[in-house]
């Protein structure tokens, strides 16, 4: 029921758009084309995965969307507003654990709430709700160093979501986790995504993860980073309307198709 509603909603509005996006880095004065002519749209409430070989510009793409890096050409638009700097309408979860080590779990989550909630006690209460939502209620007063990698990333997700962003940008958030933890985190993320009706951009180099989670997959090819395919994933989410069955025949078909695409996406300058 809820899924039908979101689909109807999302078909109408574009949340995030890449328009003629290009990025050139200068390495010792030499221009180096990292991204070329990226055009793509992500609808409200959509879960999009970006896959591609290492070094093809996935991080650069999402960092431009976050406002941490400037586009050289074109740009990223959030609801038709050009992104020029970081903002609380976009939350970001990094691959490297980036919780502030000097703050406790709760204080980390409180960090992004300072503008919305000047009263410290209220801010603490709000943060607590988020910490509990990611299932770490008993660890509120722990320091990040005292938590496992999976727990740290859950706090990072809570921290990114607390200010109420419309878009959640995630750069290989689970890459450093073991397989079991990753499975639980994926499930957890899908629940959050469904409950908040938030738009998710999820970078991964793990194709299986992408097929498991995403409504749509963007395939990037390297040198220079180009968008070579945009693939809607129509495998039904059979478990609780959230997760897909990764052992089903459909899953394998889609997986193989994208694998082949990825294998074909060789550098242009070779």
């Amino acid at each position: 029921m809820a899924a039908v509603e979101t689909q109807m909603l999302s078909s109408s509005s574009v949340k995030l758009a890449f328009r003629d996006l290009g990025k050139t880095f200068f390495v010792q004065g030499e221009p180096k084309l990292a991204l070329q002519n990226i055009n793509a749209e992500i609808r409200t409430g959509e879960f999009v995965s970006i896959v591609g070989a290492s070094g093809c510009g996935k991080s650069t793409l999402i960092r431009i969307a976050a406002g941490l890096e400037q586009a050289s050409e074109g740009g990223v638009y959030v609801e038709d507003n050009l992104v020029i700097k970081p903002g609380q309408d976009r939350g970001m979860v990094f691959q490297q654990f980036s919780l502030f080590p000097w703050l406790t779990v709760k204080e980390n989550v409180m960090f992004g709430l300072q503008d919305q909630c000047p009263d410290k006690a209220r801010r603490g209460e709000k943060a607590l709700v988020w910490v509990e939502r990611v299932g770490l209620g008993e660890f509120v007063d722990y320091y990040p160093n005292q938590l496992s990698g999976g727990m740290q990333q859950r706090v990072a997700i809570a921290r990114a979501l607390a200010p109420g962003p419309k878009v959640l940008l995630m750069d290989e958030p689970f890459a450093a986790l073991d397989a079991q933890t990753r499975g639980r985190m994926q499930r957890h993320l899908l629940e959050i995504w469904r409950n908040l009706n938030i738009t998710v951009v999820f970078i991964t180099h793990d194709l299986e993860e992408a097929v498991l989670l995403a409504d749509k997959i963007f395939v990037l090819a390297p040198k220079p980073g180009r968008l070579v395919a945009t693939l809607p994933i129509d495998i039904p989410r059979t478990k609780d309307d959230l997760e897909r069955d990764k052992y089903g025949p459909e899953f394998e078909r889609v997986f193989k198709k994208i694998s082949a695409l990825l294998a074909d996406s060789v550098p242009l300058d070779h």
């Binding site: 976050a66 406002g67 941490l68 700097k85 970081p86 903002g87 609380q88 976009r90 939350g91 970001m92 990094f94 490297q96 980036s98 919780l99 502030f100 080590p101 000097w102 703050l103 960090f111 992004g112 300072q114 503008d115 320091y143 990040p144 160093n145 005292q146 938590l147 921290r159 990114a160 200010p163």
Partner: protein, 321 residues
Amino acid sequence: MALQSHASFVVGRQDKARLLTMGSFLLPLLLWAAVSYVPGLWQPLIKVSTPGGVAFYQEGMLVEKDQFQIQAQSALERGDAAPTGSPANPVYLPAPHEVAAALYTSFTTPPVRRSEMWFHQSIWHSVTIIFWGFLYSCLLGVPLGVLCGAYKPVSQLAEPFIEFARYFPAPAFGALAVAILGIHDAPKVAIIFIGTFFQMVLVIANTTRRLDTRYVEAALTLGANRLRLLWQVVVPGILPDLYKDLRILLGWAWTYLIVAELIGTSSGITWFITQQARYKNFDMVFAALIILGLIGLLSDLLLERMGRRLFPWQEKRLGGS
């Protein structure tokens, strides 16, 4: 079971560490004792006990071994009595028990003149000079260093001159400091300040620049403005490293102490050392050196302990990597 073996492993490691720490002090002490007490191990000199027929020998005089032999020979040839003596070390290497005695007498000997201080007063005076010099250095150097590290324009404005100024040898400012600040403690504090300030700015600027950019970037995505970035990310982010830097810089402050205490009205423990060396009281010199080492080591240990209290987030969880 696993936990137990883990615990005993940790204890075993700590014991070993403690043993090595003790060894680090015991080894030089043993070496010193051996050289001092084992006959013939070094002892390049002869301590004259009876001058015999050698006119210029006196009891207690230290002479070279071969010289002693020659004088003994010629005394015998002249038909005089040969001098006697026993092997000894040079004056600059007093034996451990002599230094221990000096350590005691240095504290119990009253000052010769009324204007002079007791030994413990000298030590305390030195400590206060270090304290004030280093405090002023920190009050200015830490904020400036952090600003240089955090903001490029500040660094471009301040650092070239500081790079230039840090080559000024602090001792060269001695006479100037006295001319400006008088002969009492102020110029001494100024020397400590000059000796540490410029280095401090540069070291702390570097530490600030080394802060992992991911914290800054995470803060930016969470809506932090410039001020919040500085106060809530950069400062707490570098604090443990900054603290370590200051501990190292404090060590440098002590090296400038000897210059500081020579200018104006000479004072303090390093002045004491200079004086005693002039009178060849090397047991006193060693005693004072040991005191200096102890003060440095103990204060650093104390600061390290405090650091662990101050930055609890650095503690790893048990069994964590």
